[in-house]
């Protein structure tokens, strides 16, 4: 009886609690519906395609479907010595069909990714195959080129048998699965990707450090100067921020070239001799200098917005309690700016690790990063599944940092301008 008494009813006679919950639910749905269009749009055009990349990076059905008979015959083969006649025959039949359908080029490209030199022997086989006589295909194929008698090539062919493979990921970290099924590193002189990963990390790390060292003093100055001066100086930060990335890269290309202004200046002050101007572009120096300048605003803005909220009286209090200005700064001011430092550093690091344009233009061969390698495989070698695999490895790293960023700073605290 008593519990019923406490229940407050609305004018319709429905308990208030129920009515409120209903209204709450309605509001929830309303809010969600507003977000829905963008969310759906992004899921269809962005999230699914990234999922598609994941699928592409492991999908290897193309070769499997192109050589069905060969792989059936190969099931019996142990991979130690050259395969038997039936494998050769099956391969001949499969390949003949591909040549008739004119799709053998795709197979040649794919197999060449697996082992260099496949393309030429497949082409040669295509030419000689017209004169093949029935029976004893093993002999005839081995006659075409001596590489067909090399068991390595048949092993490479067998490695492409499964429909799904993680080989591209292994390749991305300079490893491969050898004949015995063990995962081993590629020979030392061919470990190119490891160098690229390390270089990307190194560049991102140093650019972040340089940006921090340069941004901290000017953010502090901007935050402590009176408004009328700081607004003016803020333009120096915001104008590069709003200017086209390519324009800024172009200006660095002009400055850093061998007959450029920076070199002129070095010659003028006698740092280097005129006929011995250092190469500052098309190497890592160029990448460092240009990337630091381009990403600097992304460090200044978060630092500034945090420093703006620190009351100057805190420093005065620190000094009046007997600290020297340095002690007051280190013990009072600096700890208060740590959220800004975290936000700025993570943002710059995330942006630097995936940088493409600037390294491609001023980096040369020794200054290119992992992004450039991805673009190279997308555009030149057309090994899209490898590009996808590399992209996803990079993405995993970036998302891990993004997660940390979200935990520490919160994405809703990102400020622009």
């Amino acid at each position: 009886m008593s519990s019923e008494k406490q229940k407050i009813l609305t004018t319709d006679g429905i308990p208030l609690e129920v009515s409120l919950k209903k209204a709450e639910k309605k509001n929830k749905i309303k809010a969600f519906l507003l977000v829905c269009p963008l969310l759906l749009f992004l899921i269809i055009t962005y999230v699914f395609p990234i999922g598609d990349m994941l699928y592409r990076s492991v999908d290897d059905r193309m070769v499997t479907n192109m050589l069905p008979k060969t792989y059936k015959a190969m099931e019996q083969w142990d991979g130690k010595d050259l395969p038997e006649e039936e494998v050769f025959e099956a391969f001949y039949l499969d390949y003949k069909k591909l040549v008739e359908e004119k799709t053998f080029g795709k197979l040649a490209t794919q197999l060449n990714f697996e082992k260099n030199g496949f393309k030429s022997i497949l082409k040669k086989l295509k030419r000689k195959m017209k004169k093949f006589e029935e029976g004893n295909y093993k002999e005839q194929i081995m006659e075409v080129h001596k590489r067909w008698a090399n068991v390595e090539y048949w092993r490479a062919l067998k490695r492409r048998a499964p429909s799904y493979t993680y080989a591209k990921y292994l390749k991305g970290i300079d490893m491969y699965e050898n004949e015995d099924g063990n995962i081993v590193q590629v020979p030392e002189d061919r470990r190119i990707h490891k160098i690229l990963w390390l270089r990307t990390l190194e560049v991102a790390l140093f650019v972040t450090i340089f940006c921090f060292l340069m941004a901290y003093p000017i953010a502090h100055l901007l935050a402590t100067l009176p408004m009328k001066y700081s607004n003016l100086l803020m333009i120096c930060v915001l104008l590069p921020f709003w200017t086209s990335l390519l324009v800024r890269t172009a200006s660095w290309m002009i400055l850093l070239q061998q007959q450029g202004i920076v070199n002129d200046f070095f010659v003028m002050i006698g740092l280097v001799s005129d006929d011995n101007r250092p190469e500052m572009m098309y190497n890592k120096t160029g990448t460092y200098v240009a990337m630091t300048q381009i990403l600097l605003p992304f460090m200044v803005l978060p630092l500034y917005s945090v420093m703006k909220t620190i009351s100057p009286s805190l420093m005065r209090a620190g000094k009046s309690l007997g600290g020297t200005p340095f002690v007051a700064f280190w013990k009072v001011y600096f700890p208060l700016t740590i959220p800004g430092i975290g936000a700025g550093c993570l943002l710059v690091f995330i942006l630097a690790i995936g940088y493409y344009i600037t390294p491609a233009l001023v980096g040369g061969a020794s200054g290119t990063l992992i992004s450039n390698q991805i673009a190279f495989h997308m555009k030149s070698t057309l090994d899209w599944s490898f590009a996808s695999a590399m992209g996803l490895m990079l993405l995993a790293g970036v998302l891990a940092i993004y997660w940390v960023y979200n935990k520490l700073v919160g994405v809703d605290n990102i400020k622009l301008g």
Partner: protein
């Protein structure tokens, strides 16, 4: 920042040293942009200051490269500029509409899973462009929109919406929701309330988000590199090709125009930011 009279000498030195460092950093930030101006008026074909320019000889300067940019034979800049503006305009429109509506939902206190959804909506800004480029290229190729304006516009909407979502949510964070309640209690329907009450109040945020989206699209090169065919070349693509092949002074003329454009955008964005703060009653 004037130092008090009683400052000890070594702190005084330190202070001037600090100002000197700041000066150097500001110089580092802004100076590279200003090399482009004079060199774009170079009468010669080289990208270095000629002897004449150093003497400020009027003959060493000319508008030759600007003429080349506009009237040059086989010049790609006209088509590129047209494409860039069309693509950026539609991409901005799309980003602003989708982003603003989503931001309205996100700033509602009833929004479920706010954190995760916000993180997802912002992700195109965080994910490296090269990865977005590859993913979007696969998608557009699949649906047959590669090498079309529509495909590039859609791609740029993806990249532009995070900026709109961020700026509009920031504007809405100081928004007094009682005004919309007042409007509804006076008999206005939700659409009318939005158009007459909410939109005018958040307009500065919407426009500055739109500016970000515009600049993102106008300056975007990585994704377009994958998507563009010969007919949809844009200004950044032309600059990219030019910078890779031969660095001609015409590029500097274009770059100068782009710097002027970005200055205009910066001024607009700054004015809007201040207006928005005034409307929302934030006085710093």
């Amino acid at each position: 920042m004037a130092l008090p009279k009683y400052t000890e000498p070594h702190y005084r030195i330190w202070h001037y040293f600090y100002l000197f460092i700041c000066g150097c950093v500001f110089f580092f930030l802004i100076a590279p942009l200003f090399v482009i101006f004079p060199l774009s008026f170079n009468a010669e074909e080289f990208l270095v200051f000629s002897e004449g320019m150093k003497r400020l000889d009027p003959d060493a300067f000319s508008l030759r490269w600007y003429k080349d940019m506009i009237y040059g034979t086989k010049n790609p800049w006209g088509l590129a500029a047209k494409n860039s503006f069309i693509i950026a305009l539609f991409a901005t429109l799309g980003s602003v509409i989708l982003g603003t509506v989503a931001a309205l939902g996100l700033s509602s206190r009833h929004m479920p899973y706010k954190g995760i959804i916000m993180a997802a909506l912002i992700s195109p800004m965080i994910v490296p462009l090269i990865i977005s480029g590859v993913a979007i290229f696969f998608f557009m190729a699949k649906v047959g929109l590669a090498a079309t304006h529509t495909g590039i516009v859609l791609a740029h909407i993806i990249l532009g919406t995070p900026f709109v979502v961020i700026t509009v949510t920031a504007t809405l964070s100081g928004f007094d929701h009682s005004v919309t309640r007042a409007a509804s209690s006076l008999g206005s329907d939700p659409v009318n309330t939005f158009m007459k009450i909410t939109l005018p109040l958040i307009l500065p945020g919407v426009i500055s988000g739109g500016l970000f989206a515009f600049v993102t699209s106008f300056d975007e090169v990585v994704v377009v590199l994958f998507l563009a065919g010969l007919d949809n070349t844009t200004i950044p693509i032309q600059m990219w090709t030019g910078l890779r092949e031969q660095l001609s002074p015409t590029i500097l003329a274009v770059a100068t125009c782009l710097i002027v454009l970005s200055t205009l955008i910066l001024v607009t964005a700054e004015l809007l930011r201040r207006r928005s703060e005034r409307i929302r009653g934030i006085n710093r």
